[in-house]
């Protein structure tokens, strides 16, 4: 079971810039490593991350094997309205994880 951790404030003033940290448990196998018998370990990484705020996309990223295991992305957004922020990771071998967080804007 994939595990994702989102760190962001639960409430914010309207117009405030909030920082969001999104971390997901994933080994990010590069595809360049070999086993002790010399066989190449196939690549298994997260390739795409998308963050939407009440349905509107605010941040997205393309990940490559050079991103460390358990990829962490920290970015910011302007708190415009109360609602949910959705985080979606997708990658090799049909990997897909969605996590949501709610925010209260006064």
């Amino acid at each position: 079971m994939a595990r994702a951790i989102i760190t962001m404030p639960a409430a914010a003033r309207r117009g405030e810039i909030i920082e969001i940290k999104a971390l997901v448990a994933h080994s990010m196998e590069t595809g360049f490593r070999r086993t002790q018998y010399g066989d190449l370990i196939p690549r298994d990484i997260i390739t795409r991350f998308v963050c939407t705020y009440n349905g509107a996309q605010i941040f997205s990223a393309e990940l490559h094997p050079a991103i460390a295991a358990n990829p962490l992305l920290a970015f910011s957004t302007v708190a415009t309205e109360s609602g949910t922020i959705t985080f979606r990771w997708s990658g090799d071998n049909g990997y897909a994880v969605t996590e949501t967080a709610s925010i209260l804007v006064e």
Partner: protein
């Protein structure tokens, strides 16, 4: 049953084949030049041939890295984030990894400020480059030299 003569002929043939492959294997392409070319090509693909200016972008990562498997890295672009003038994308490249690509992040005016942080893998001491694409179509970059003691990606050292 193989006669002694047949065995010798076969053995000589096998030896010469091994020798041939080995001499070919010694003609390793210049990895460093290939990786530099791959980095240039990757940056050119992002900019589409547009001029790349230095400045505005600040790439922050430790100059001395003990463990290349998880290197904290942040990119800050000194640019307002308004509808008319904002940072559209931030791309990160490394010189010495098997592939030059690290991360391509797409942001917009709703980001509030143009800052991004992540953790990356770096295979060997070399240059890390960040390229920012602004909404007016200009490209800005910053590079940082890093020294890596424990390499990432490749257990048996650099190929």
């Amino acid at each position: 049953m193989t006669t002694r003569r047949e065995f010798l002929v076969l053995a000589c043939g096998a030896a010469s084949i091994t020798a041939a492959t080995r001499s070919e294997a010694q003609l390793v392409p210049n990895q460093e030049a290939l990786r530099k070319a791959a980095l240039r090509e990757a940056i050119r693909k992002v900019t589409g041939g547009a001029p790349l200016s230095r400045g505005r972008v600040k790439l922050d990562l430790p100059p001395l890295i003990d463990n290349g498997n998880a290197v904290p890295l942040s990119v800050t672009v000194e640019n307002p984030m308004t509808n008319a003038d904002h940072v559209k994308a931030i791309h990160i490249f490394t010189e010495k990894n098997p592939q030059p690509y690290v991360l391509s992040a797409y942001l917009g005016p709703r980001a509030g400020r143009a800052r991004l942080a992540t953790r990356v893998r770096i295979a060997d001491s070399g240059t890390v480059t960040a390229v920012a694409q602004l909404s007016d179509g200009s490209f800005w970059s910053d590079s940082a030299e890093v020294v890596v003691t424990l390499s990432a990606c490749l257990e048996e050292g650099l190929i």
